[in-house]
């Protein structure tokens, strides 16, 4: 046994001899790891050159620390900085703005390590790291992201604590404990501030890039730019239908309509400003012919931070607020575009709840006056997609119907999609300059954007007015027959063509390529991950339960954290105030709560002192009680002492009776006397209490 132990000790010693990095190197490595942790999740969204640059710089710095070499000379650092600035400028065409800022911060964070003496410059890394952590929320605010960022914050705090422990080689775990303790102690304050700090609308107008990068709908469509469509499962909206849910093939939710095509990107024809405010909407109903029953429903949209209200196609009457006390301020901002899309004058930063009435079966627009349509619906940029234009000519020549029977041409194009070996895929890769040519002739695969764009170009090539409508399609029933749920991953793009005698007609070319995408209940799902497939293989029921539990966690997270909006905040405080809380009220309540916290903190110490004094006054004095217990224990061991014995008398008696083995006890008694009657230098009572509990008792 002894042998084993000593061998273990020896090998541990050998290990520590062979693996004992100097403190400076160890701290530098730790900081490099923290930086890598903070920057890594950003890399997929940064320009391509960022990843190799950051990884290379960090690895170089780690190697310098390992070999104990000097840091690179100033000209190297300045050169690298110039390269990074130039590359950022080349990638973003600017150095300001959100995306360029994120790139710059990440690169600077990595470059800073090249002039880093771990302890001195910990602050620079700390501040830059905090900004980098914030930028992760632009992309995602899931619980996983929050946990990831939490670890990053802990890492940054640990590095800072470590920098302020100058002695020898303190353990990193020790520093991490101190950092975690600080964060935990600060948590009550963080919660109070989070709940009560007034939620404000954006303080000033956001730049054009403010909403880019968020998944879901966007104001324009750049075809062929996305190599791999990432499906975002967050909920875009929830609907409760008054009657049965309409068939999925009718569930098209109308978002931005795009009609201006420059060869690469589809833009809306009507900029956001050209909209009809509510009074005019009432006066100028969109010309439309509807069929069948109207569908009535209540729609709840979480804060989308976008101005669009994707209502069920087509909604002619303005949606109404729901009379259940929820925020209805959106109603002031309600507008309608000439293309029958509902928008708000300002992005919806709060939950929108509304009641609306839609007609899934409809035709809109002028029926037979082609001249009433803007020319843009028929225009194509010159010298793009020549093969598609040739295809258009060929189709028109091959058409058995008279040239002005455009409906036949549309059918022929759809038939080509259906029978031409075209395939729906979420990973089409990037497309070149002539995206429609590539889709029709070379790749023959893509997702809804490629298909809709290529189809619309073909239509215009045959002189059929066409436009692209983006929005959502389909959705799924919530668990347990709850609300109908539409997710961001249900975002879709389809085409509307104008046919003489009918007006605008919806054509969904994606349905021709992949009927399952819109027809039946099953959406094209991405392949499950390794873990996911393993779980499904083991027990489908378990996977289902797991998914349901996770869904409820996500719902809680969404309601409590990510979508904690002004209206939720007001609803929370409504019972307390009896009226909707203004930001001023919130500030007052927050001030009160903070003052309460501070008062509790301030009063804690005098309260403890008073509590102790009161206990001593009552005769319940810890030291006296301990002396009394000591006396009783000594009595049990055969040493009779009168209750009036002082600690000093007790110490002497103990010493006489038990000799050297009672040394610690006698020493403790002497200290107890000093603590009670001594002037200064008395041991704190907490130390005495601890030592008393650990005393060896004489036998």
């Amino acid at each position: 046994m002894l042998n084993h132990a000593s061998r273990a000790v020896a090998s541990a010693a050998a290990r520590s001899r062979s693996w004992a990095p100097p403190r400076e190197a160890r701290d530098t490595w730790f900081l490099l790891v923290v930086i890598a942790w903070v920057v890594a999740p950003q890399l997929p969204r940064l320009p391509v050159w960022c990843g190799p640059l950051v990884a290379g710089v960090l690895a170089w710095r780690g190697w310098l620390a390992w070999t104990g070499r000097h840091l690179p000379a100033t000209r190297w650092r300045l050169g690298l900085l110039a390269v990074a600035l130039g590359a950022t400028l080349a990638s973003h065409h600017t150095l300001v703005g959100r995306d360029a800022g994120i790139t710059l911060i990440a690169v600077l964070l990595a470059l800073k390590t090249l002039e880093l003496r771990a302890r001195r410059d910990a602050f620079v890394v700390f501040f830059l790291g905090l900004f980098t952590l914030l930028t992760q929320f632009f992309a995602s605010q899931t619980p996983a992201t929050a946990a990831f960022v939490g670890v990053g914050v802990l890492g940054l705090f640990t590095a800072l604590v470590n920098a302020h422990r100058p002695a020898g080689t303190p353990t990193l775990t020790g520093s991490a404990w101190i950092a975690a303790r600080l964060l935990l102690l600060g948590l009550p304050l963080a919660v109070v501030l989070f709940v009560l700090f007034p939620r404000l609308p954006p303080l000033w107008g956001l730049g054009g890039d403010a909403l880019a990068g968020r998944s879901g709908l966007s104001a324009q469509m750049e075809v062929g730019d996305v190599a791999r469509l990432a499906l975002d499962d967050s909920v875009a909206m929830e609907l409760v239908f008054d009657g049965p849910v309409p068939p999925r093939s009718q569930l098209y939710f109308r978002g931005p309509v795009l009609a201006n095509f420059d060869g690469r990107t589809w833009h809306p024809l009507y900029p956001h400003r050209v909209t009809l405010p509510l009074p005019e909407v009432a006066a100028r109903r969109a010309p439309a012919r509807t069929a069948g029953e109207a569908v009535r429903y209540t729609l709840t949209q979480p804060p989308s931070h976008r101005p669009w209200l994707p209502l069920l196609d087509i909604t002619l009457e303005p949606p109404q607020p729901v009379a259940d006390g929820t925020d209805s301020s959106w109603r002031r901002d309600l507008r309608r575009t000439p293309e029958a899309q509902w928008v708000l004058a300002a992005p919806a930063h709060d939950v929108v709840r509304l009641r609306a009435e839609s007609h899934p079966l409809h035709l809109i627009g002028p029926i037979d006056r082609l001249g009433a349509l803007p020319l843009e619906y028929r225009e194509l940029p010159a010298s793009y997609n020549p093969r598609t234009l040739q295809l258009a000519t060929d189709l028109m020549k091959a058409s058995p119907a008279p040239p002005d029977d455009k409906a036949t041409l549309v059918r022929m194009a759809l038939q080509r999609l259906r029978e031409g070996g075209y395939r729906y895929t979420l990973e089409p890769g990037t497309f070149g300059r002539d995206s429609a040519d590539e889709f029709w002739f070379d790749r023959r695969e893509g997702f809804c954007e490629h298909i809709a764009s290529a189809f619309a170009i073909l239509m215009r090539g045959m002189d059929i007015p066409a436009r692209i409508v983006t929005g959502y399609q389909g959705g799924e029933a919530g668990a347990g027959g709850g609300a109908w749920r539409v997710r961001q991953s249900d975002a879709h793009a389809w085409v509307e063509v104008w046919l003489h005698g009918q007006g605008w007609v919806r054509v969904d070319p994606t349905q021709a390529v992949a009927p399952s995408r819109t027809g039946s209940l099953q959406r094209l799902a991405p392949r499950p991950g390794l873990l996911g497939s393993a779980v499904s293989a083991l027990d489908a029921g378990l996977a289902e339960r797991w998914r349901a539990a996770w869904a409820s966690v996500e719902a809680l997270w969404r309601d409590g954290v990510t979508d904690y909006t002004p209206s939720r905040q007001q609803a929370l405080l409504h019972p307390l105030l009896g009226s909707p809380a203004t930001p001023g009220d919130l500030l007052r309540i927050m001030g009160l709560a903070l003052a309460g916290l501070a008062a509790a903190g301030l009063l804690a110490i005098p309260a403890r002192t008073a509590w102790r004094a009161w206990r001593i006054h009552r005769g319940d004095d810890p030291l006296r009680r301990r002396l009394e217990t000591t006396r009783k224990r000594l009595t049990a061991r055969g040493l009779q002492l009168p209750p009036s014995a002082t600690p000093r008398q007790m110490a002497r008696a103990v010493h006489e009776r038990f000799g050297a083995q009672a040394g610690p006890l006698a020493e403790w008694l002497a200290q107890a006397e000093a603590a009670r009657y001594g002037k200064c230098h008395a041991r704190p009572s907490s130390d005495l209490a601890r030592e008393w509990r650990q005393l060896p008792w004489p036998r």
Binding site: F123, L130, F131, L134, H164, A167, L187, A190, D687
Partner: protein, 308 residues
Amino acid sequence: MVKAPGTSPLASLSLGHRNVYILPTRAGGMLGVTLAVLLVGAINYQLSLGYLLAFVLAGGALAALFQTHATLRGLVLSLRPPEPGVDGAATALGLRLQAPRAGARLRCGIEVQAAPAGASHWRTLRTPAVLVPELARDGTADVTVTAPPRPRGVHPLPTLRLTTRFPLGLFRAWAVWTPPGELLVAPRPEAAPPPWPEAGAASDMLEGLRPWRAGDSMRQIAWRKSAQADAPISRDRLRDPQVRAGLWIDWDTAGPAPLEPRLSRLAAWLDLADRAGLTYGLRLPGLTVPPQGGAAHRRRCLEALARC
């Protein structure tokens, strides 16, 4: 806790809310700006988790404020009686920090600095700060602080300042203490003092030792003692009982020089005698220290020189 006699503290002070001060550092100000920018970013981009991040950081910073203050709060400082210093040289002060054992681990990175009593410009001070990286397991730390050099004489004890930025460096807590008591500064010993004057009984000493005189044979020299004293010392054949009474270091024999050089010479002789392990007495105008040996005696003599 058994203390050797003579080391009982001269003065002590416990640090509490009344005497520990705290202000944010420049880095703390930077964190404030950073938090404001994070909050504006969270508002402008409507990032709920951005709010949370800013508030968690604010909470952590506030906890650091309390932790920094608590690094000093609850410490008991005690100063050991300082040895007399030497004119123009820095004086060492023995300071003991004691903390309750609970949480002693969290008292890191305390710097101690001394300034002449009443000094108000700490920034311009050149005295080195002593870093106490950590307290020992029992919650104590012994520090030797260097007090700035003072001229010969009696001075008030220097002002001590304890500073810490632990744990995050966002705040700086400090406490200032001017311990009651005085600091004695003895004259600087003359570099090359003349030998003791031979007049009277002053040239005799215990053990029959005396400074070397021309004419003493090599055999007479006590080599070991001479090496210790840096000056040749001879064995005296005379064993006069009067000589055994000890050597007198006398103000009157130190020459007619002005006060300070004269005191310097006395100090040099005193040093010489002490290093040779001799018994000596000190005669000053109006003060006589009877012959004796040992550290306490030397201390008493130096005090007498300092007060002169």
